[in-house]
Symmetry: C2
Subunit: 308 residues, 2 copies
């Protein structure tokens, strides 16, 4: 377990270096929003989504630089969603990972604008993939295929990030919280969209850019679904079984907030069994792919079975 | 004057029909955010930006459908910026164009998510341009050129909408308001970015998609700058000279709010002269283009010299 943690940490550092290349310089009359954006992205985190994207790209034989702006873009999207989630009108969080949230430092208006700025910069950055790896003197047919692949990848990212993906999940989550009750159907919708959708985008974009065929892209979508839902259920399990010290938040905070989760509805035993089933399915998909999936398998194993 | 107003209204209706084709159906567990998004877009407005985009596209000989998702995208971007601007932490407006603002109807959390949803849907929609007007059996070189044009157009839109465009202008505006003073340099930065940038994007995207050369794209950028700044100064002039009945807001509201504008800094006479100069320059650029610019000229004339 320690070995994979070290590897993840090293890889997170490498991924962060790539992301940093696409962050804005803090100059100009709009420097405050740029500072707030960089503050938000550089608040830490596992860089899980770009890491998965890069690793799937490699597994399917990708070697170009075109993946890099997409890696930065998905981290910007993930970050903007946290910045807006933390706002007083949403979850109203002053701290995240032991650090003041963006609006707590820069004020609420700048928190809104920094989120908007990151979401827009994500697309501005993603579009840069079109200008990288251009084949000077290559076949026009190859160039059209390359541009088509990038367009398809950006489309998938946009769909999974939007109202049919992550934002859709956030909406359902807020409404369930306001209603103070949630059905299993709603809960799975929320987890699939709020949590799994961006993981799906990561793995699908990696596959598409590497030129994987449609059936492989669909397999990655399924695998990412399994990882995302298992990760979320594990989170709910840890909320109950984890200790204050390990989690950095009160034990059973969901229960104390009367928040219904997979575990409060199905119980600990069934939830753990579901995590196992999803984990097995994800592993089977990964090991069925021809390329080297060893790090992806170790990462999945770690994410799903983590103890904190 | 009345004739052009009728023409603009008819064209706005045609543009709105195109935009509506790209709006989401209000179904699914995320239906509330979809309702809030449609409510925001369908709140009316002159549809100026997509109208300019379509007209410039036609002027440069564009005839395809690829312009339509970009028209919808820029209106979604314009709309999300209004939705977030109206939020309590920003301008705190309960009404816009005599109608309740989005957060006033759907609550603050849904106002934030509806804005995010529209911004993301703008990119999702823009990316659809890649799948329209595909040339079955065409030359691969032509297909690569088509994809390249769309990528360039989407890039320009992203740049002008983001932290180096509109969001940059919103940031500088908020900071100037908090400081309760503004220099002429800041004021022009705010107008160029907050107001002119999306007009620039409209006209540049129209030119790029129609296949106009780089020098024509730059001319459209300059022309749109002139229109945007002149429009904004005219707004400031009307704030002082307009009557309550015509504007629907108190006379001199800027002055009453101690808001410094181009007019409060330079005076009415110099401001009117600057509007004339910018207007003349924009007209000269439009009439220098080979295509039919008659509607664009009439529209510019109307926008800049409107009395309300």
């Amino acid at each position: 377990m320690e070995q994979i943690q070290d590897t993840i940490q090293r890889r997170a550092g490498e991924v962060e270096e790539i992301i940093c290349k696409w962050l804005p310089e803090e100059t100009g009359l709009q420097h405050t929003v740029l500072e707030a954006m960089n503050y938000s992205v550089l608040a830490g985190g596992k860089r899980l989504r770009p890491m998965l994207m890069q690793e799937v790209y490699r597994m399917f034989g990708g070697t170009g630089r075109e993946i890099e702006p997409l890696m930065a873009a998905i981290e910007m999207i993930h970050t903007y969603s946290l910045v807006h989630d933390d706002l007083p009108a949403m979850d109203n969080d002053e701290y995240r990972r032991g650090r003041k949230t963006t609006h707590a430092v820069y004020g609420e208006a700048m928190g809104i604008l920094a989120g908007d700025g990151l979401l827009n910069l994500a697309w501005e950055t993603a579009m840069q993939a079109f200008s990288l790896d251009e084949q000077d003197g290559g076949e026009p047919g190859e160039e059209a295929a390359r541009l088509g692949r990038i367009a398809k990848a950006v489309k998938v990212l946009a769909r999974k990030a939007g109202v049919y993906g992550m934002i859709g999940g956030q909406t359902a989550d807020i409404e369930a919280e306001e209603a103070r009750q949630v059905t299993m159907e709603q809960l799975l919708f929320i987890h699939e969209h709020k949590t799994a959708a961006l993981i799906q985008a990561s793995m699908m974009v990696g596959a598409i850019l590497a030129g994987a065929d449609e059936s492989h892209v669909r397999q990655m979508e399924k695998c990412a679904y399994d990882i995302g839902i298992a990760f979320q259920i594990q989170d709910d399990i840890l909320d109950i079984t984890g200790s204050m010290e390990e989690l950095g938040k009160p034990i059973g905070s969901d229960e104390k907030n009367h928040k219904q989760t997979y575990v409060t509805i199905r119980g600990l035993e069934d939830s753990a069994a579901e995590v196992e089933r999803l984990s097995r399915e994800a592993m089977e998909i990964l090991s069925s792919v021809e390329g080297d999936s060893s790090f992806l398998q170790a990462l999945t194993e770690y994410l799903i079975h983590r103890r904190k």
